[in-house]
């Protein structure tokens, strides 16, 4: 069976790189004793993949991975068994069954919602940014791009800025680019969204 697992991370775990995060989950799954499926070959690894890599330094309340299991697992068992063995700073929010013919999570990745937490009130500057039709800034590779093309939604209040940004394989923007326009902040991903037949849905809707 294919399962979709929603997880959150905070504290020290926010500084774990994507590769290390994959390893932490692989080890957690092994510790849990759940009947995970392995790939073939000389170096078998657990069949799992993440919807969207999370940058080093970001906390999350809604990130996803899918895992293949050897057999059906009753509702609630994955959450219970995995929660019992994962490190304190990584928590399992929910898990669900993913249809066998459902696309890979990575393939339907569409957008992500972030909260940027600034030390000071940035609402005026943020509102001005939202009001503009175009805003040229340097992306992380040093190219000048119109970042407004990636901002799907946004609002600001005091030191908190909420942003929904494109996050698909063709079109994605790291919130750090916008953070760098406004100042230093802590970044938390709130939710990841999939595009299913033109509809934008939080990933957990894919799970049953």
């Amino acid at each position: 069976m294919r399962a979709i697992i929603k997880y959150a991370r905070s504290g020290a775990a926010s500084y774990v790189s994507h590769l290390d995060m994959q390893r932490a989950f692989a080890r957690g799954l092994r510790r849990s004793g759940l009947p995970v499926s392995f790939s073939e070959g000389f170096n078998p690894h657990i069949v799992m993949s993440f919807a969207s890599p999370l940058s080093v330094g970001y906390a999350t309340m809604g990130d996803y991975l899918e895992v293949k299991f050897e057999r059906e697992i009753l509702n609630g068992v994955i959450e219970r068994e995995l929660s019992a063995v994962m490190p304190a700073d990584i928590s399992i929010v929910r898990a669900g069954r993913l249809a066998d013919n459902a696309p890979k999570l990575m393939a339907v990745n569409s957008s992500a919602l972030y909260v940027l937490d600034f030390k000071s009130d940035v609402s005026a500057a943020a509102k001005e940014f939202f009001a503009q039709s175009e805003f040229i800034a340097e992306d992380r590779k040093g190219r000048s791009i119109d970042v407004k093309k990636y901002v799907l939604d946004g609002e600001a209040s005091g030191g908190k800025v909420t942003l929904r940004l494109s996050n698909s394989s063709e079109k994605a923007l790291n919130p750090a680019v916008i953070a760098s326009i406004l100042g230093e902040c802590a970044i938390t991903r709130i939710e990841c969204f999939a595009n299913i037949n033109g509809e934008e849905l939080p990933f957990y809707m894919l799970g049953k």
């Binding site: 774990v16 080890r27 799954l29 510790r31 170096n43 078998p44």
Partner: protein, 564 residues
């Protein structure tokens, strides 16, 4: 969390109700600079507690070139560097590890060194500390009581006098300290504490897998090898115990790899039982088992079959010297035939990366021995081309590494001068030009670093000042090439009026009193001298298992006792 000793002690101490052990690592220089700038102290990982607020701070001394980094950690932890400047309000600073065979260059900075295996000595020391703390802690009174525990060396309790020629004249034990500090050895190694829940870091550390210590000690008697002498006597853990330990570690960590640790895993007498047991239990769980290179014959058919299924990607082999003559001098008892046999087998099972480790600057070495390295490398390369053509898939890559020989205390070569830096550099150039062979990569160690290793390995207390001067002028992380600057040390030797060649390049008299002679590692000087003479005569000494060689272990060594 790559260091097995720290892992054992961490878990062991935390299994005791009245002890809480936390970890602290040297922060990289950028973080170190930030701490210095803000005045924030270096803290533990577990509770973010400043080092200076602990009762005891223990340092692992595994490598001479880490000494300045130890000073860096103490300073960042707001702990005065010198033992004499720390009263009872500061933590007790203790050290252990393979460098405490001769801890004298660090003697001024430490209150206590634990000599030998710490699994029993360290809890005893902590228990004594607790008792003293309960009745009102006084550092001097505590040290006077602590030095009565076997294996506890309090350097301040030994007064050292020097001869005019700079050698040690005498040392005098004071404050009731024993004449000589005996190395601690766990009597029941098989039944001793074993790791069950190793700390699992997020980042990929070196040796990031389940490691089973199958054996302590080694009976081969290689004359250059300090580990071979100081970890005696040879003791094994039972295969059944190791398999259940592996089961527990895999359950607790989710590791997907198991490897074996010892000085010479091929010599473990229960290897068949262990390999078979591990493969049977873990193959189905997709946990890979890395075994030492060994012949498949002698194994149960099903185990042999499983062993053969494992594709070998590489072989690492340490002939150490290029000619049989020199291998006899150092008592590395492998023949050219052993080498070619092992390599041919590895090539047949698919290995395409061969790593060959050599040492240069060994006692009695000539350029003929260097030529021997070159011809051995060529021969290994030929073996590949002798394979039937259909088996010659993939390009062969041979890495040849030459380490500069560093004479170490408590070995048969503790009297020998190290080859000079100039001579070592000439040998590097010589080998480099002759090893320009297709598919062969040659690397060698920096002569500067090896020279300093030799100075500190056999140094005395007058080097404490040198280390302090070097540290003050910026030396830290000296084993990182981009951080190391020889000039800092040259200046430090100068400032302290110390001639480093005295320690590195001097031929010592057989009767000389050594700086580390107050430490008793149970290896007779007379035995080491005999070994030195045999080396000069190019005579080998057999493996202890072929009969006791009389190294000084009488009680506690199964081999010596069986021979009586």
């Amino acid at each position: 969390m790559s260091h097995m000793g720290s892992m054992i002690l961490y878990e062991l101490l935390n299994s005791k109700e009245d002890i809480y052990a936390q970890r602290c690592f040297a922060p990289w220089s950028d973080m170190g600079a930030e701490l210095k700038k803000t005045g924030e102290p270096l803290c533990s990982v577990e509770e973010d507690k400043p080092l200076c607020e602990f009762d005891i701070v223990g340092m692992n001394l595994s490598y001479e070139m880490c000494y300045t980094t130890v000073l860096y950690m103490l300073e960042l932890g707001n702990i005065p560097l010198h033992s004499k400047d720390r009263d009872g309000s500061f933590p007790l600073v203790i050290g252990g590890g393979s460098c405490v065979v001769n801890p004298e260059p660090m003697a001024d900075f430490f209150d206590i060194f634990v000599i030998g295996e710490a699994e029993e000595a360290l809890p005893e020391l902590c228990t004594l500390y607790i008792a003293h703390k309960q009745k009102g802690y006084d550092k001097q009174a505590f040290l006077e009581a602590a030095c009565k525990i076997k294996g506890i060396y309090v350097p301040a309790f030994y007064e050292v006098l020097y001869n005019e020629d700079g050698t040690v004249k005498s040392y005098t034990a004071i404050n009731g300290a024993p004449e000589r500090v005996e190395k601690r050895v766990i009597a029941d190694f098989d039944g001793s504490f074993k790791i069950k829940r190793p700390v699992l870091p997020y980042i990929n550390t070196v040796h990031d897998r389940c490691v089973l210590e199958i054996m302590r000690g080694c009976t081969r008697g290689c004359r250059f090898c300090q580990a071979g002498y100081i970890y005696r006597p040879l003791r094994e853990t039972h295969a059944a115990k190791l398999i259940s330990q592996a089961r527990e570690i895999i359950k607790n960590t989710g590791y997907d790899e198991i490897s074996l640790a010892s000085l010479s895993s091929g010599d473990y007498t229960q290897l068949q039982e262990l390999a078979g047991g591990l493969l049977n239990e873990f193959e189905g769980k997709r946990v890979s088992v890395s075994l030492p290179s060994m012949r498949a014959d002698g194994f149960a058919p099903e185990t042999a079959e499983k062993l053969q299924k494992v594709r070998r990607t590489g072989l690492t082999f340490a002939p150490e010297a290029g000619t049989q003559r020199l291998r006899d001098v150092i008592n590395k008892n492998v023949t050219e035939e052993d080498i070619t046999k092992t390599v041919r087998q590895a090539l047949l099972s698919g290995a395409r990366t061969i790593k060959l480790y050599f040492m240069i600057g060994l006692p009695t070495e000539t350029y003929e021995d260097l030529d021997g390295i070159v011809s051995l490398v060529r021969e290994v390369r030929e073996l590949y081309y002798e394979l039937p053509k259909e088996q010659r898939r993939g390009a062969l890559s041979i890495s040849v590494s030459a380490a500069n020989f560093v004479p170490k205390p408590m070995t048969a070569f503790q009297w020998e001068p190290q080859d000079t830096m100039e001579s070592l550099r000439q040998k590097h150039v010589y080998l480099k030009s002759r090893l320009k062979i297709k598919g062969v990569k040659f690397s060698y160690h920096d002569a500067d670093l090896s020279f300093l290793e030799a100075v500190f390995a056999r140094g005395d207390r007058r080097l404490c000042g040198v280390l302090l001067s070097a540290y003050k002028s910026g030396a830290v992380f000296d084993s990182w090439q981009d951080k190391f600057e020889m000039e800092r040390y040259i200046k430090a030797f100068d400032e302290n009026g110390v001639e480093p060649a005295f320690y590195a390049n001097r031929n010592r008299e057989s009767g000389e009193l050594f700086p580390w002679d107050m430490l008793d590692y149970h290896i007779d000087k007379a035995f080491l001298l005999r070994e030195r003479i045999r080396a000069a005569g190019e005579k080998t000494t057999k493996d202890c298992r072929g009969g006791c060689n009389g190294c000084g272990w009488e009680k506690g060594c199964n081999i010596a006792e069986a021979g009586k």
